[in-house]
Subunit: 408 residues, 2 copies
């Protein structure tokens, strides 16, 4: 019998999408489902940048340069300059989404069997790219009690072996919303220097920081060869479907290697490069407005969550995610129950169980991730549902309330 | 010192792009360069399908389904039906170009160390995807004397080991333009059944056949689980920059595995899915017109080549490539010389040396690939250059002419 590859079997299915059939069934029963489970923003893609595509007037949809259009890379140099990242066009390779930047980074810097340390909970798809590259993810745990701050340096030291080649940091973090401080980034710098590691920095949510400034891995000095930035326009401009990202580094060998992977797949998508290029010319207040909206949503959802007895939600400093601990036996069961067995005024809410974001089995069993990608009214209605649901859910755990008090 | 991965070092640079700096230098000296080196068609992308993108009116550029928009997959079912490939929407996964279809196929079906047999000369980027997947390419040689027909079954048998998991066939072929017959496809079927192998069929050029009908690997009966079709709209509609392809198979396990890779990268590009969907509704005579143009170019270039003393070019049955044997010592040197040291009426021609398309070292040293992606006038002017160049080139080999006679 023909069989698929071992890595094909190992490849994890999307933990966020496994509840989709239950949501679809609920909708068929006439129930409105508030989707707080996925990072698909409802914020409109700026019409100006969609228009840049709509008004394009080329005759042949040609391959672009494998590193992306030079005109786009020139614009990105401007953009990065504005956020204090000083690079030239040859240090930027346009990728098909942030996804391809992660894949190219893993492929170019790591071999099968190499280890990469990632603070957990982490973006679940890192697992997928690790499996594709044969790389082993070594999670070290960040804790809800500290708001998911960087784990202590000793935890890194303990996890580092002769096979460790890199650390991945997502800042601000998906799924926790945690915004790493300058001090934490400097700690990471010490570790990567001491152990000669790459630092892969996923900064997809850079523009959405609510507590203090974003400190990029590219702001660290003296580690130009270690830092590889994995970026995307998906969240920045609500342009997820365009599939445009970038890998940025000052490491010449890495650039040369990534370029070969880029050449093999010929070029990144053409239309969305036009969109990305136009986005750099958006008015300076574009992010202010979007950020204000996200901040309002964050303030709403965090307050509503912490007002529910037994629920604890640390205040996330960035991105558009919040992690909450719920007074339930098993968040996977609870999230399915929300869709299968519950409704309030004919409405329910879809959440992402946190277990899928942990590399260590058994962790996050009573945590969920909430993406605040809906407007404040919908968030309030969704929180009404959650509040009611936690009253009714048969697997509720009462003692959790004391934990919350301690943690706060 | 930090170093890139072994696979990053192993990754081959694009053999087609290595001469680019010499072409750029020639242009700077004021020389017109006819680009017959790359498969970027000059045929206009049908304006109707570009308009479908330009007139799209969504507000948020959202992720699509990881397998691609359902509406697009439904349309593709129609398209495939028209060419006698009967599949349903769940047997189609939209990919980021044909490139990603190849990568997903390799990743899902093959493990590191597995072997895949490919008749050489072959599309050079298979090497890149093989390195990414840790897969070993075992070339078996097809010969210019037979017009690059399928190598005899014994050559396959000799190359098959316990690690062989698949055969890759590109039909019609890039770089040779060879169109495999039904009989040759049936021979492949025998081999994959006997040795329990996957058959990866790259049919990017399906619509461009000039000698007889295209016989798809999906037309083979009784091997539904073995055949994985890797497809793309790039050449079909002159839409290379869109980056839209598809992986099509009836093998449920492969589909399930590929779907996990597809989920990890979230979704294929959004804009070009709209374009691809519109393309299925192009008038029935669209391909006729395009094919007629390519056929005229093929007839022109093949005649012009064979009219040059010492040159031999078999008549390609499909795609838009021709392979020619030149009376030169080293085609790599000759192609560089054309750009660096030669011009005729201030013009020269850029060709792709064939060595980059062979997996076996030393083969193809006096062969080049020509992509007939320019109009007939340009092709004639380019052939004038080539004819003159072969008179002047210091590394010309005279005895080659006798070979040609024998071969014809």
């Amino acid at each position: 019998m023909l069989s698929v590859s071992k890595r094909g079997k190992l490849m994890p299915p999307s933990p966020i999408r496994k509840l989709v059939p239950y949501a679809e069934a609920a909708k068929k029963r006439g129930i409105k489902v508030f989707h707080l489970n996925i990072g698909q923003p409802d914020i409109e893609t700026p019409p100006q940048i969609l228009d840049a595509v709509r008004h394009s007037d080329f005759k042949v949809l040609e391959y672009s340069h494998s590193a992306g259009n030079e005109s786009y890379r020139k614009k990105l140099v401007e953009y990065y300059n504005r956020v204090g990242i000083h690079v030239d066009i040859n240090q930027i390779i346009i990728t098909t989404g942030g996804s391809e930047a992660i894949l190219f980074g893993f492929m170019s810097c790591l071999d099968a069997g190499d280890e990469v340390i990632i603070p957990e909970p982490f973006y679940a798809n890192y697992n997928g790219f690790a499996v594709a590259a044969g790389v082993i993810v070594k999670p070290i745990t960040s804790k809800i009690e500290t708001g998911f701050a960087l784990p202590p340096i000793e935890d890194f030291e303990k996890a580092i072996t002769s096979k460790t080649k890199a650390i991945v940091i997502c800042n601000p973090n998906n799924p926790t919303g945690y915004l790493y401080s300058k001090e934490e980034m400097e700690t990471l710098k010490e570790i990567i220097i001491k152990h000669n590691l790459y630092l892969f920095a996923d900064e997809a949510y850079r523009e959405f920081c609510y507590e203090g400034e974003h400190f990029s891995a590219m702001h660290l000095t003296g580690v130009d060869d270690n830092v590889v930035l994995m970026d995307t326009i998906s969240k920045r401009y609500s342009a997820c479907g365009g599939r445009i990202g970038a890998l940025v580094t000052k490491n010449k060998d890495v650039l040369q290697s990534v370029m070969k992977f880029a050449q093999a797949r010929l070029s990144p998508p053409g239309f969305a490069q036009i969109l990305g290029e136009a986005a750099v010319d958006l008015p300076a207040n574009y992010f202010e407005k979007t950020k204000k909206e996200y901040q309002l949503r964050r303030d709403t959802i965090v307050k509503r969550l912490n007002d529910i007895p037994g629920v604890f939600c640390p205040n996330p400093g960035g991105a558009f995610y919040a992690m909450a601990r719920l007074p339930v036996d098993d968040a996977d069961v609870f999230c399915q129950w929300l869709l299968e067995n519950f409704s309030y005024n004919n409405k329910t809410v879809m959440l992402a169980p946190a277990s899928g974001f942990y590399g260590t089995g058994g962790l996050g069993k009573n945590e969920v991730r909430l993406a605040y990608v809906l407007n404040v009214d919908s968030i309030n209605a969704a929180m009404d549902c959650l509040e009611k649901a936690l009253e009714e859910y048969p697997g509720k755990i009462i003692s959790q309330q004391t934990h919350q008090q301690t943690a706060l």
